[in-house]
């Protein structure tokens, strides 16, 4: 029986979302004809492009997958925790490493600033720096979520989940992001020459913008009063300057590897869109 499935076609073109991808993979697993359809579609593509190979009747996939039955199934948390050495064909340039680390640093900066506001129950004048999921505290517990598939050797530690108190914050965050249909409300009317915005994230109770110029970057966080983790003023750590300023009923924090005067001027230039 020939079973048509337009998801297979869309998947070939990279035009499916995460949900449809999962559903399609389940269908393919249940229906070998769909897997053959995928194979034939690719043969047809090669035929259209004049790239047909020899041995088209050959299908080694069953042998490969049979051999892989003995292999461990990758677990996403294991993958995140311990990346193996890359088999990339291109060496990563020193410049790109630098930019990457800059971007990570900027993101982490932003996450730390807003994360402390978002994920701690009560705002404190003492910064409580932690990233969600990265630190085990009273809001976390370890458990086994009932995985049946074997995991990678050495990665059999139980999953970490948040208890209901902590989960409430994520539910609020989810509802806020999904339902609010928000658009950016803040911008800065001045920034140092050569910088451009590389990210603008909308988060519960605030927004964060990240600007970069080559290896330099700064982030601007705008939060409703009461959700910030720093008092007004200036701080310096690890080569980064942080300037906190009250702007009406909001609080602006600028963090980056820029001079203090520049950070202060940026903070002063932040304004609502309308």
């Amino acid at each position: 029986m020939h079973r048509a499935n337009d998801s297979i076609s869309a998947l070939m073109d990279g035009e499916v979302g995460e949900f449809e991808l999962r559903r399609t993979l389940e269908q393919v697993a249940d229906d070998p004809e769909l897997a053959q359809q995928w194979r034939r579609y690719h043969i047809a593509r090669a035929g259209l492009r004049g790239e047909l190979q020899s041995g088209l009747q050959i299908d080694i996939s069953a042998g490969v997958m049979s051999a892989l039955e003995q292999e461990p199934t990758y677990h996403p948390s294991a993958y995140d925790r311990e990346p193996a050495s890359s088999v990339s064909s291109k060496p990563v340039s020193r410049w790109w490493r630098s930019v990457s680390s800059m971007a990570v640093a900027a993101s982490v900066t932003a996450a730390v600033i807003l994360g402390a506001g978002n994920f701690s129950e009560s705002p404190s004048q003492t910064p409580n720096f932690y990233l969600p999921g990265a630190t085990v505290n009273g809001d976390l517990m370890r458990t086994n979520l009932g995985r049946s598939a074997p995991t990678m050797p050495g990665y059999d530690s139980p999953d970490v989940i948040r208890l209901s108190d902590g989960l409430k914050k994520y539910i609020d965050q989810h509802q806020h992001l999904v339902e609010a249909q928000r658009v950016p409300q803040w911008s800065t009317r001045w920034m140092p020459e050569g910088y451009s915005m590389v990210r603008h994230e909308l988060l519960p109770h605030g927004e964060v913008m990240v600007f970069a110029k080559g290896r330099d970057a700064f982030s601007v966080s705008v939060e409703e009063l009461g959700h910030q983790s720093l008092p007004e003023g200036v701080a310096q750590a690890d080569g980064y300057i942080a300037v906190g300023k009250r702007r009406g009923d909001h609080f602006v924090t600028v963090v980056g590897n820029v001079p203090l005067m520049i950070a202060d001027r940026i903070a002063s230039a932040v304004q609502p869109e309308r």
Partner: protein
């Protein structure tokens, strides 16, 4: 050909494998097996041996996949593994790898199975040519809206959204047209491949 969209499609499947879904790897194997066998055929001239080495290359790729970060396209990464596996295979058999290497960046485009073709029978060569003829003839005979949609996709590498703009129709219609075009071709080639 759109390498970017192909890479995007591959990356979606790669991420699923990395997230623990082996089924996605099956699709990658089905997608690339003929090219990989052809590539390995440049080093390992016996077709049956080439298939064994190809299988080994896919298994190695699966094992190495947690380390794949997408710095290069998946097929480039896979081809490198295949070439290394083929070379190691020759060394283990006390045979010398060929002096002329395959450039990994070019491997996707070159006629990779010239050596295997030398081992082809006239029948298998005719079979491949017939399959290609059927595919192209079916495309030519498709209704214009289906033919244009698939042509823009396969030869121009356009996204569904771009094709929708060109053809002045909704994205869903583009998706449906491309699927129907592929189905029409598949209907013609399925019996050939089954036999």
């Amino acid at each position: 050909m759109s390498n970017e969209s192909q890479a995007a499609s591959d990356q979606v499947l790669v991420k699923r494998v990395q997230a623990g879904d082996k089924r996605a790897f099956d699709l990658l194997v089905k997608q690339y097996q003929h090219k990989i066998i052809g590539l390995i055929g440049r080093y390992v001239y016996d077709p049956h041996e080439a298939m064994d080495v190809a299988q080994e290359a896919f298994i190695k790729a699966y094992r190495a996949l947690p380390g794949f970060r997408g710095d290069s396209a998946f097929y480039t990464w896979l081809y490198r593994i295949a070439i290394n596996t083929a070379k190691n295979h020759l060394v283990s058999r006390s045979r010398r790898p060929p002096d002329v290497d395959v450039d990994v960046d070019d491997a996707h485009y070159i006629d990779t199975d010239s050596e295997l073709r030398e081992l082809e029978t006239p029948e298998s060569s005719l079979y491949r040519d017939e399959l290609e003829r059927v595919v192209k003839t079916t495309l030519d005979r498709l209704p214009e809206d289906l033919r244009v949609a698939l042509t823009l996709r396969e030869f121009e590498g356009m996204s569904y959204e771009d094709i929708a703009n060109v053809m002045d129709c909704p994205v869903g219609t583009v998706r449906s047209r491309i699927f129907r075009a592929r189905e029409a071709i598949d209907k013609e080639i399925a019996p050939l491949l089954a036999n």
